[in-house]
Subunit: 422 residues, 2 copies
Amino acid sequence: MNRITATYEIESPIGITKAAEVMAGEQSTGTFGKIALETDELRARCAAQIDELTVNSVGHSPSLPSRFSSNSYERGIVKISWPIDNLGTSLPNLMSTIAGNLFELAELSAIRMTDIGLPKVFAKTNPGPAFGATGTRGELGAHDGPIIGTIIKPCVGLSPAETADLVQILAVAGIDFIKDDELQANGPHCPFPKRVEAVMGVLNAHADKTGKRVMYAFNITDEVDQMKRNMDLLSAHGATCAMVCMNSVGLSGLRAARDHGNHIIHGHRAGWGLYSRSPHIGISFPAWQKLWRLAGADHLHVNGLASKFTEPDPVVAESAKSVQTPVFYDRGPAHLAMPVFSSAQTIWQIQPARTLLGNDDFIFCAGGGIMSHPGGPGDGVIALRQAADAARAGISIEKYSRQHPQLRAALDVFIKPTLDLG
Amino acid sequence: MNRITATYEIESPIGITKAAEVMAGEQSTGTFGKIALETDELRARCAAQIDELTVNSVGHSPSLPSRFSSNSYERGIVKISWPIDNLGTSLPNLMSTIAGNLFELAELSAIRMTDIGLPKVFAKTNPGPAFGATGTRGELGAHDGPIIGTIIKPCVGLSPAETADLVQILAVAGIDFIKDDELQANGPHCPFPKRVEAVMGVLNAHADKTGKRVMYAFNITDEVDQMKRNMDLLSAHGATCAMVCMNSVGLSGLRAARDHGNHIIHGHRAGWGLYSRSPHIGISFPAWQKLWRLAGADHLHVNGLASKFTEPDPVVAESAKSVQTPVFYDRGPAHLAMPVFSSAQTIWQIQPARTLLGNDDFIFCAGGGIMSHPGGPGDGVIALRQAADAARAGISIEKYSRQHPQLRAALDVFIKPTLDLG
């Protein structure tokens, strides 16, 4: 039946049933008074429908301020569906329908979108990630295990030459993947063209010498035309990966980058807290990430387990798994992306990350977790690979470390974080 | 001193001062452990600074869930500044810096960005609204007073011919401005090309006959390449205004539309509730709208006074005024846009809208407020203009209506809403 669905956790001063009717009306054929042109035929063809509705509890105060008030606030879940012909398969227009004005309705005192259901017909106009895990491994050359990566720090302030010097150290250490910080843009201290030239000079020489291609995700985030120029420059220097701050450029911006040139799109979610931190308003990551995979993200940041950020570990785990779940409800291409773990990550988090996914198709970014290894960054990278090997073999890292000195040394230095994965 | 500033209302389990230091570090040179490359010279050149800090109150529970907990949560305001050379004058990169990871910090249990301060050097790469109020009036032909507009309803479901029939009625009624609903995309029931052809056929004929050009904001929202094709089609049919759902296409998407062709950009803010509804996380409209004016929006939706949406009237008033406030802190081009009032608007809200702005440079969209006038839509439009004239003359609409029968008739039909403007 090619319908689009969206599921919301809502709270309402007028009750869940009435609120759901308002939502369906506002986001399809309704207006605040029924008008002559809203015929029965038109409604049958275009009205949004309430597919599921559950009342879970009743409270006595609103979670968010609202123009309407009441003595009781029902909380529950509502699933709404739309005929695909209302809007077609354009992602930006999908956003206006499922995540538009309804967030401002006075009939709701809380609304979080928790799921989106899309039919595979969306694949016709949204080809999705061009590379994914398979393509990423292909660009890295022969490679198994998780991709071990790091982020250039300090985030901003290094010159192109200083950046390249650090890249040289990391390449020699055996790293697979390096990325710009999302704050590193195209300012006068470290202009994009000079950074690309310096970094790729190091990495191309390293590949020539060792046969190992290290992937560097350059932050191309900018206006559409400038992103295209940035990508052309990447191509000219043999760089294969472009990082885009998704919320900064928008869905249309990401898609334009995906369609230009032939680069792996590394999706950074700076600003994600705006969508996710409140229990009362926002979008869940499993819903949100579908849109960005459809727009073309090959890699998607999901925070790290026990990271410096505020998301609890179960949310990080759910987010990482969602990126590896097929995007459409009726099969079609899976459009899978690679989850990217980062922020305060060490040998202690790679095993839980590997275990929760059940595969190696992820990117694991560590900073201090590599650079602070007592044997130096080279041993730091080896220790992370050993931790991943232990996970694959189903052996604890403590036990595995008896035969693996680099992992052993890491265990002595890095403090075991408290994970909360239930 | 070309610095960028951003002001935040925050709450923290570690105290406002420490939290501000974490924010400044996270968004510039800091990492979770100080590293060798973060030299004093680099910090002096690139570190974000805390310019102002105020502690307002202390609470005992967090407003948002956070990984860190405490017995006390300080609430206050912090203003942070960055050297412009950290990132240059690219809007998407500005977003990553001022509205990026910091929303996810565990050191914060609430964070709302309430202001952005930008120097005029941003105007070099961000030419801003190409038309604004003056350009909009120019396209409308000789015109004073507020722009009286309406929205096609039902939002979706009408065919191109049905849409054009409604446009004919509205044009004859004397309306200035008509817009697609934000849900009206480019689906098979009402394809964009056929809608443009049908609507512009009516409006071009109307202009030939009467000399009056009615502006129609067609919803071009889509991927960048499709938006460009849509705008080319608008040009071919003599249409001057393109509506873009800003959150659906992103800053880079809007800028790409602004730079293509030569259309007035009507900025719809579908999804705005996500940014604004929580008192604990989000971005204020006065801060947010600066970004979209810099990206090129000529018109910006601000809800209506006493609308069906949840924003209180003082927020709507502040939003409308912000759009008419110069964008840079050190002069330079003002980059002014026109506020667009809509949702459940009648003759009762036009006078308060005009009074709070102190000028006529706004668009006032009414639906039922025009179509339900007892004298028909023509009298509905006239009554709205009379209400605006009364405001300009400083006379109440009740008194003014004694000499103006269309306004008199409207007063009898439309219920006076309760405004809350203090």
